[in-house]
């Protein structure tokens, strides 16, 4: 009996051990993990929470057509601008966006969007006259020279051709242009003034400053120059050591800047009035190793300029909302083509904003415009 009890105890112990072994969870038996999402990289713009609003509002890629119903199913437009240039490529993105949205609504937009490789007023004149003979619904022009182009515009208008101006430059009111409407930057002078103010504050309202402009006669550039000078003139301790035109060439801008620096080794600032100026000027300053001495302010969103802004070699940039310019241009052109007058669904002047951005905004802007994630 005692033996049987011992055997039974042994048996129960072994059974308990076996059942414990069966019961133990293995890795394979563990319930499968719930599916997870993969890691993502951080969104650069989220890192700069306070500056997001500046970048987000400076340039818009989200556009929606207004409720206006075009009268026709197909439109033909002709647009000509100063120079084949990334700035106008950005405007073209807006044009395309609007055309695509109209296509979704069953309205076909055909357009030509053409420019010379270098600023050429005569070329623009010829293009306009040629386009005037081809029966476009609306011609749009980014005026290379107000005094020279205004007569051509007026000629076309008189012949019944609808003409608008768009993007960077309108005609000068004192030239008596009959263009129907303008979509673009209406505050170039204020932009120049804002850049100058930023520079003056930075340099302590004293010192020597050089100004580099784009094209002779280009309304936007001349207006910016005017605005910059009006601000600089307010401060007696600031002197303008030179004004020159780079004709949309960064190399030329660099040469001009170098010349200014050589003539004025104690120069403390540059105001750049177009998109490529800042790049050339920054290169000249770097070559002369005067980054700590010289402050550079300029216009627009050239990728190289934005990188220089990010690195602190450029102090600030005035970024225009190019995409919105293009988008609104198409919307306005359709209404103009349908015979609407300014005030009947569109304004004579459709203003597109400029936003000054600084070093802290550069990374976010680079990411937004060029997808840069550095």
């Amino acid at each position: 009996m005692k033996a049987k009890k011992i055997i039974l105890m042994m048996f129960m112990c072994m059974t308990a051990l076996m059942m414990h072994a069966c019961d133990a969870e293995t890795d394979a038996e563990k319930s499968p993990d719930v599916q997870e999402t993969a890691e993502t990289g951080a969104d650069v713009s989220e890192e700069q929470d306070g500056e997001n609003h500046v970048v987000e509002s400076a340039v818009s890629f989200e556009h929606t057509l207004d409720d206006y119903v075009p009268k026709k199913k197909e439109y033909n437009f002709y647009f000509t601008y100063k120079i084949v240039h990334p700035w106008w490529d950005a405007v073209a993105m807006g044009l395309e966006d609007a055309a695509d949205q109209y296509a979704e609504r069953g309205v076909t937009i055909n357009y030509e969007y053409l420019a010379p490789q270098a600023v050429d007023v005569e070329d623009q004149r010829k293009r306009l006259l040629d386009a005037g003979n081809r029966g476009f619904d609306v011609i749009g022009v980014d005026v290379a020279d107000s005094a020279q182009i205004t007569p051509v515009i007026n000629l076309l208008i008189n012949k019944g051709q609808k003409v608008i101006t768009f993007s960077s430059s309108d005609t000068d009111p004192k030239d008596g242009c009959k263009r129907i409407a303008y979509v673009g930057n209406t505050h170039n002078e204020q932009d120049g003034a804002a850049l100058a103010e930023a520079l003056c504050e930075r340099i302590g309202y004293a010192g020597k400053v050089g100004i580099i402009v784009g094209d002779h006669g280009a309304p936007c550039h001349e207006e910016r120059l005017r605005g910059a000078k009006s601000v600089l003139d307010k401060y007696p301790d600031i002197s303008i050591v030179g004004i020159d035109y780079d004709r949309e060439s960064a190399d030329r801008a660099e040469k001009i800047a170098t010349r200014f620096i050589d003539a004025n080794p104690d120069i403390v600032g540059f105001i750049c009035c177009n998109m490529v100026n800042p790049v050339g000027v920054a290169h000249a300053v770097a070559t002369k190793k005067l980054e700590d001495q010289v402050t550079i302010v300029g216009m627009d969103h050239d990728e190289r300029a934005l990188r220089l802004l990010k690195d602190g070699d450029i102090y600030c940039l005035g970024v225009q909302d190019c995409c919105s310019i293009g988008f609104d241009t198409i919307q306005t052109a359709i209404k103009v083509a349908d015979g609407l007058k300014p005030g009947e669904g569109y304004e004579e002047l459709t203003d597109e904003k400029t936003t000054l951005i600084y070093q802290k905004d550069a990374a976010a802007m680079l990411y937004k415009l060029y997808g840069d994630q550095e």
Binding site: I7, E29, A38, E39, E96, C323, L369, G371, D372
Partner: protein, 497 residues
């Protein structure tokens, strides 16, 4: 110790130990099988995922490559010798482009003339600055990534053209936009039941698509993910990075976050791209896992059943063994209490039974008897006949008395009977007469005409009387002596006169 071991290792315990041993072996074998099943299924998952992903990866990569080649060939055909080579005006060209775009379902189709004017079905654009590759001399089909304003990326397939003109202006090239998201979407829709996600990457690991194919947050750079992942095979991140850079093919398994993944990567033929397809282990496991879980469940069930069977069998074994033992014990006990010759109680057993009856107060009558002149039977007829006489007397007693009566042989020809419940002389006498009748009926041929006679002494035991068995025996013995004085069958009762 030896006695203990001898007692321990008897047949029962040896059988039990053997039984336990076999059961343990069987259970552990089942456990081992389960473990092997799990391992096999893990290996199967790994092998299947490798095979599956390789097939998928090669197929999809080839599909992408073929789509690009087809597009390239289509463009060549559209503007080739069998297609259109001359357009009278830009309107003519744009109309043609519109038709072709619809027929071939291109997102964007354009041609560029030697004046760097770009024509689409709805536009003519000075497009060089937008697509920087247009400044290059393109002599063979190539793919470019255009980084457009607004961080938009367009994948462009460019095919140089010869002999195509718009009026008199030669056309330099044509290009279409390639929508990798669309291609991937079409590929992914084709077959798989399992949850896979695939993407196309630059050699630095940067994704080339925008659509989220993961169902969650899509990684921008697969190499960044792998850099922080835990590889569960013998691969290292540095090897994978080199593979990507050099366009090699590979397979990796890794843990990223909470998920275990398998990824197969390979280069896309004709490009600088890498294609990678990933499946989460849970997806394969969920399919194989059902089978494996079923196997494991069965295995576990087998083990449980085995244990239950073991328990039941062993319990039955113990119960049966115990019962046998009880029977054995009972038999031995009975044997120890039974007179071998006659089958009635022996002295010890009978006395014990009677004492037990007295203890519980079973009132009754006690008889003491023996055969008359038994010695002469032995002397004259032999001990064999004497034994027959004894046996016959015993049989007569059993036959005459009830089952509850305790019949015992005290030794030789002496018997005793305790009949509980018989409390008066008349009842007792009736039983004795019956007994006498049985004695008279005994016929032993060897005895010839000689008859067997018995003499009985009887004493009643009634509760309340403070006499024990020994006293009862003494009283019956006294009366036996009295019965002996009378010829023939005789019973005398103590104290009943």
């Amino acid at each position: 110790m030896t006695r203990f071991l001898r007692r321990f290792f008897n047949k029962v315990t040896i059988g039990a130990i053997f039984f336990i041993f076999i059961s343990v072996v069987l259970v552990f074998t089942s456990l081992q099988n389960n473990h092997l099943a799990e391992k096999s299924s893990d290996d199967a998952v790994h092998s299947i995922s490798r095979f599956y992903l390789k097939e998928l990866g090669e197929r999809r990569s080839l599909t992408i490559s073929n789509r690009l080649k087809e597009a390239e060939q289509d463009l060549g055909r559209i503007f080739g010798n069998s297609g259109r080579k001359y357009f009278v005006s830009q309107d003519d060209l744009r109309s043609f482009l519109g038709s072709i775009r619809i027929i071939y379902d291109y997102d964007k189709l354009a041609v560029v003339d030697e004046n760097e004017l770009m024509y689409t079905e709805h536009s003519t654009i000075s497009g060089v600055s937008r697509y920087s590759f247009l400044t290059e001399e393109i002599t063979k089909p190539a793919i470019y990534m255009a980084n457009l304003y607004g961080s938009r990326k367009q994948l462009i397939l460019v095919v140089p053209l010869k002999g195509v003109k718009i009026n008199t202006v030669p056309v330099r090239l044509t290009f279409i936009q390639i929508d990798l998201d669309k291609i991937l979407g079409e590929i992914s829709d084709e077959t798989e039941e399992n949850e896979t996600f695939s993407d196309v990457y630059y050699k630095n690991g940067q994704t080339m698509t925008t659509a989220d194919v993961t169902g969650g947050d899509k990684p921008d750079n697969i190499l960044d993910i792998l850099k922080h992942a835990e590889f569960t095979d013998d691969r290292r991140y540095e090897e994978v990075e080199i593979d990507f850079r050099t366009g090699k093919t590979g397979f990796i398994s890794y843990n990223s976050g909470d998920a275990s993944n398998y990824t197969y990567y390979t280069s896309v033929d004709g490009t600088n791209w890498m294609f990678a397809v990933t499946i989460r282990e849970s997806s394969i496991s969920s399919n194989i896992g059902e089978i494996r879980d079923s196997m494991l469940r069965r295995g576990r069930l087998q083990i449980v059943i085995l244990i239950v069977v073991m328990l039941v069998s062993f319990s039955l074994f113990l119960w049966y063994s115990s019962r046998l033992q009880k029977q054995e014990k009972h038999h031995l006990l009975k044997m120890s209490q039974t007179d071998a010759m006659t089958g009635v109680y022996n002295r010890g057993g009978g006395e014990k039974a009677i004492r037990s009856a007295l203890e519980v107060g079973a009132e009754g009558v006690f008889f003491l008897l023996d055969a008359d002149k038994f010695k002469s039977i032995n002397d004259n007829y032999g001990h064999d006949v004497g034994d027959q006489v004894i046996i016959s007397i015993a049989k007569a007693l059993v036959h005459s008395f009830r089952d509850v009566d305790i019949v015992m042989r005290l030794g030789g020809d002496e018997f005793a009977v305790y009949a509980p419940g018989i409390l008066d002389k008349d009842a007792a006498t009736r039983v004795v007469r019956r007994f006498f009748g049985s004695i008279d009926a005994i016929d032993i041929p060897s005895l010839g005409d000689r008859k067997i006679c018995v003499s009985l002494g009887a004493a009643f035991w009634r509760e309340g009387k403070s006499i024990d068995f020994d006293e009862l025996y003494k009283r019956a013995d006294l009366r036996l002596y009295d019965s002996k004085q009378v010829e023939g069958n005789m019973v005398t009762f103590y104290g009943e006169d």
